[in-house]
């Protein structure tokens, strides 16, 4: 009887599993097949073997966009981690903790299109409110370096609340008596933070690093909304190059090959990060 009940309970997963299988797993696996096609999206696909994969190697725009992505991640990721950690520590137990968390989490939920418009009217170098009022101008419409900074700032604006929440949840998971014991032994607040709290946050920081890297490698909605990859391709991150190739130049077969490329890069980078960071954590624990 127990077995029958279990089977019936398992059946309740069927609808969700079906949706996942058809719209996530199957597409994920069929990228391999689509990558061997020449296909515009509307005509019938034409098998071309490994031509798309060979083209990846000599595609200068692709490698340039990988460089842009790396630059983006190198700017955004350390800032994201530092801000998440600093803010989570600063607001722990403060009266306004909840209000600040609610504020920081809000941009991630509130309409991206609406946010893009608010930023456009606020920071546009020609007529934005901030340049008008303060004279401070970030020339993101014309200067490549400024455009990348602009996209980084928007991303931090949207995502930092998430990092703060995750870090803050981990902070609360640290047992109070461990910190108390250290204080009783005469440790200062700074020492408690440096020697007990920070090491215990290791796994969380690793998690955020990997999530942040995957996000940098794959997401591009912000670029699409703010700069469309420009000026002069300075913000054309990998994901955006993929989108442009597939849906603006209608080369979906080659787009599938780029998807494959992004997936492989993501896996390799995430794996290396996990290994390096886990090893560093282990060696710190033993010394």
């Amino acid at each position: 009887m127990i077995r029958g009940v279990r089977t019936r309970a398992h059946l309740l997963a069927l609808p969700a599993t079906l949706v996942f299988a058809v719209f996530s797993l199957l597409p994920l696996l069929s990228v391999l097949r689509f990558a061997t096609w020449r296909w515009s999206g509307t005509t019938d696909p034409l098998p071309v073997g490994a031509a798309n994969l060979v083209r990846l190697l000599s595609d200068e725009a692709l490698w340039a966009s990988l460089g842009t992505t790396a630059l983006f991640a190198a700017m955004a990721l350390p800032a994201f981690l530092t801000l998440s950690l600093v803010i989570a520590l600063a607001i722990e137990g403060v009266r306004y903790e909840r209000a600040i968390k609610a504020l920081l989490f809000a941009p991630g939920l509130i309409t991206v299109g609406g946010s893009a418009i608010a930023w456009y009217l606020l920071y546009n170098p020609d007529f934005g409110l901030i340049p008008e009022l303060t004279g401070l101008v970030l020339p993101w419409t014309s200067q490549p370096w400024a455009a990348l900074i602009y996209v980084v700032l928007f991303t931090l604006w949207q995502q930092t609340g998430y990092g703060v929440l995750v870090t803050s949840a981990a902070l609360r998971g640290i047992p109070r008596d461990v910190k108390e014991a250290a204080r009783v032994d005469g440790a200062t607040e700074g020492e408690v933070r440096r020697l007990i709290v920070l090491p215990m946050l290791g796994p969380t920081m690793l998690f955020l690093t990997i999530i942040g890297t995957v996000f940098s490698l794959q997401s591009y909605t912000a670029v699409y909304l703010l700069t469309r990859g420009g000026p002069f391709g300075s913000t054309r991150v990998l994901g955006y190059y993929l989108y442009e190739t597939a849906f603006e130049r209608y080369q979906l077969g080659y787009g599938a090959a780029i998807t494959l490329f992004v997936l492989v890069i993501t896996l390799v980078v995430a794996y290396l990060q996990a290994r390096v960071l886990a090893r560093r954590g282990a060696s710190e624990a033993t010394t």
């Binding site: 309970a9 719209f23 994920l28 689509f34 803010i87 600063a90 309409t111 606020l122 008008e132 794959q218």
Partner: protein, 257 residues
């Protein structure tokens, strides 16, 4: 510690500014444009009147329909999946894998998938692929750990079927998680930008697809843009103001383990 507080205050101001501006920009008077100066302060409702005929209201209706159906599916199917996993079904690894896989990346193969199913340019394209979400399954599963198993065993001994148990025993206990999941799922679907632009065309455009087009074609009608941005964001602002506490609690407890 003081330096850390200062950083926090500065960053909070940086986050708050565009949010406040989003609310205010909808009421910019038309003189701002005449004087070519956004720092023209005043209050005007004319921008909302100008929204008529732009297609925004139609896009809102499409978004409400598609997002509503998707959220309903995600809660119902997610609850079933989480319950099955809690009963020993080995599905968690798949859920975690999908959690790390953004739909933005799979647009090309998804396009082909929808094409073979004749879903391109239909309401189905906006709904069917979103009937289940790994994040919702994950959050509900975290909540299920709270449910005392004796309650479920007792209901089974009383002869209740599994569907009945999920609906009338599990669902009421999981109300906080269901509420938070509903808001997060609503926001995630409402905020899709590229997906609806690619998979559907004009009469089926969602608010986001509409907003990006408006920003492209009427880039200098500041008041109109501001009003459209506010209207499109309003459902999420209202939901967030009402359920912010619950969302943050559920989100944090989901990530504590």
């Amino acid at each position: 510690m003081i330096a850390m507080r200062l950083v926090t205050a500065a960053f909070a101001a940086f986050v708050a500014l565009p949010l406040l501006w989003l609310v205010y920009a909808a009421f910019i008077p038309a003189e701002a444009l005449v004087r070519a100066n956004l720092a023209t302060f005043g209050f005007s409702l004319e921008n909302f009147a100008a929204l008529r005929g732009t297609g925004l209201w139609r896009a809102m209706a499409v978004s409400f329909t598609a997002t509503g159906l998707a959220v309903a599916g995600q809660l119902a199917f997610g609850l079933g999946a989480a319950y099955a996993i809690r009963n020993g079904l080995r599905l968690l690894a798949l859920v975690m894998l999908l959690l790390a896989l953004p739909s933005e990346l799979l647009l090309v193969p998804l396009y082909r998938q929808l094409q073979t199913m004749a879903l391109i340019d239909t309401l189905g394209a906006l709904v069917v692929p979103f009937l289940a979400s790994p994040l919702v399954v994950f959050l509900l599963l975290q909540g299920l750990r709270r449910v005392p198993w004796e309650v479920i065993e007792a209901a089974r001994l009383d002869g209740a079927g599994e569907v009945t148990i999920v609906r009338s025993v599990v669902a009421p206990i999981l109300r906080p998680e269901l509420t938070a999941s509903a808001v997060l799922a609503f926001a995630a679907h409402w905020n899709l930008v590229l997906y609806p632009r690619i998979m559907t065309s004009e009469p089926l455009w969602t608010v986001q697809a509409f907003l990006t087009e408006l920003l492209r074609t009427r880039a200098f009608e500041w008041g109109l843009l501001g009003a459209a941005a506010l209207v499109a964001s309003l459902p999420l602002i209202v939901l967030y103001v009402f359920f912010e506490k619950r969302i943050i609690e559920v989100f944090e407890s989901g990530f504590r383990s």
